[in-house]
């Protein structure tokens, strides 16, 4: 029954854009984390470079998204790939200051993310699975890029991999252009509480993403000691992100949102030293990603690019404290996770549409 429902969702209308952008997102993150992974070996770049990259990649997505919403003819996917490859080649050949190279890589990443969000949201007819599949590709790319960065692989091979995304971007653009009335497609997103102030819904949804961003770095995973275990952890995150959207389409956003928030808690706390238990927690925990995006799109229906940028802004703000301090006490860490999760649950119940119109 569950499998049949998942299969139905995976065959839904326009879902192919999710698969196209799964691959593009995967490749983009490989290139970006290849650069970051190679940089980490150089100590002066340890602190600022990752913050710089995160800020440039995450924060302007809302601005780029708004431009893309207002001027849909601009090929932001191809522009993003161009920026990304320029930065990547600059870095590989050591042509300019490292920060200039990181800037172009990160801004290219931002453009491609926005394009992915625009395409998957606009072709989804109010479904979450399209954008969830797109987002999940990133987790697999992050770990692959990190591992390749530590290898002796020539960066030119990755330039070729980057170029391989061109037909996928063009095809995704074709699907987006096929929609006759572009703005109408987001009218089917009705996941936000209609009786609440819209600005407040956006702020609260950003808060949930913030907490998720912070917890993503602060999760208690003492079991994670080998490369293979790290790979498995990232895979669990990727599968969780995709499953969140797929199950929300099959069973309703409210049900899946509550289940993922509540169920992740005991598994994450107990699973500090037990890999399987912890992975189940990570899986549940990652499921909220597409749900918060859908809530913000439900408010900013005419500007899904801007809505997507709001979630990435939340991710950046959530991850920011991690660059300044790390909590070493397990008890304090677990207490923060429990309190933050309960607040998130309360906030989620407030902002989500109780009517389940989209089930």
């Amino acid at each position: 029954m569950l499998l049949k429902k998942i299969c139905d969702v995976l065959k839904s209308n326009g879902i192919v854009t999710g698969y196209l952008y799964f691959y593009i997102h995967f490749v983009v993150e490989i290139l970006c984390f290849f650069v970051l992974s190679r940089l980490i070996g150089n100590s002066p770049f340890l602190w600022l470079a990752p913050v710089f990259y995160d800020a440039i990649a995450f924060v302007p997505q809302g601005v780029i998204g708004y431009m893309s919403d207002k001027f849909p003819k601009i090929k932001i996917g191809l522009i993003g790939l161009l920026f990304l490859l320029i930065g990547f080649i600059m870095f590989g050949l050591n042509l300019v200051n490292t920060y200039i190279a990181i800037f172009w890589v990160a801004i290219g990443n931002a453009f491609l993310h926005v394009h992915g969000a625009e395409v998957t949201i606009r072709t989804s007819e109010g479904k979450l699975s399209h954008s969830a599949i797109f987002v999940s590709g990133g987790s697999f790319g992050v770990i692959t890029g990190k591992l390749l960065g530590k290898s002796i692989l020539s960066f030119w091979i990755l330039v070729l991999l980057g170029l391989s995304t061109i037909p996928f971007i063009l095809l995704a653009d074709t699907y987006r252009n096929d929609i006759k009335c572009e703005n109408k497609s987001c009218d089917k997103f009705n996941y936000a509480n209609p009786n609440m102030n819209k600005g407040l819904i956006i702020l609260l949804a950003i808060f949930i993403v913030c907490v998720r961003g912070y917890m993503g770095y602060g999760l208690p995973t003492s079991w994670n000691k080998t490369v293979l275990q790290t790979v498995i952890l990232y895979f669990a995150m990727g599968i969780g992100k995709a499953l969140g959207g797929i199950l929300a389409d099959a069973y309703g956003i409210k049900k899946i949102g509550i289940i993922s928030i509540i169920f992740s808690l005991p598994f994450l706390i107990i699973g500090d030293n037990m890999m399987i238990i912890s992975l189940i927690g990570v899986l549940f925990f990652s499921m909220t990603m597409s749900i918060t995006l859908a809530i913000i799109v439900s408010v900013l229906k005419e500007t899904p690019g801007l809505a997507f940028g709001m979630t990435t802004l939340g991710l950046f703000l959530g991850s920011l404290p991690v660059f300044f301090f790390k909590i070493t006490s397990l008890i304090i860490n677990c207490s923060i996770i429990i309190i933050a999760t309960l607040i998130c649950l309360f906030v989620f119940l407030k902002i989500v549409n109780g009517g389940e119109q989209n089930e």
Binding site: W47, Y99, E302, F323, I327
Partner: protein, 53 residues
């Protein structure tokens, strides 16, 4: 406080002053633009709701 390990390296200012200043200015600009765009969209929606009524 002993349970918190500070990662912040004050020394970075000597090494990476220019990118840090650029980053701060970039972030301020982006936050202002985001605030303006969201405000424009919300006002537009408010007007549409009023017109429908």
């Amino acid at each position: 406080m002993s349970n918190i390990k500070w990662i912040f390296i004050p020394k970075f200012i000597e090494i990476e002053c220019v990118p840090f200043v650029f980053l701060v200015l970039f972030l301020i600009l982006m936050f202002i633009l985001l605030f303006i765009f969201v405000k424009i969209e919300l006002n537009k929606m408010r007007k549409e709701v009023k017109n429908e009524k």
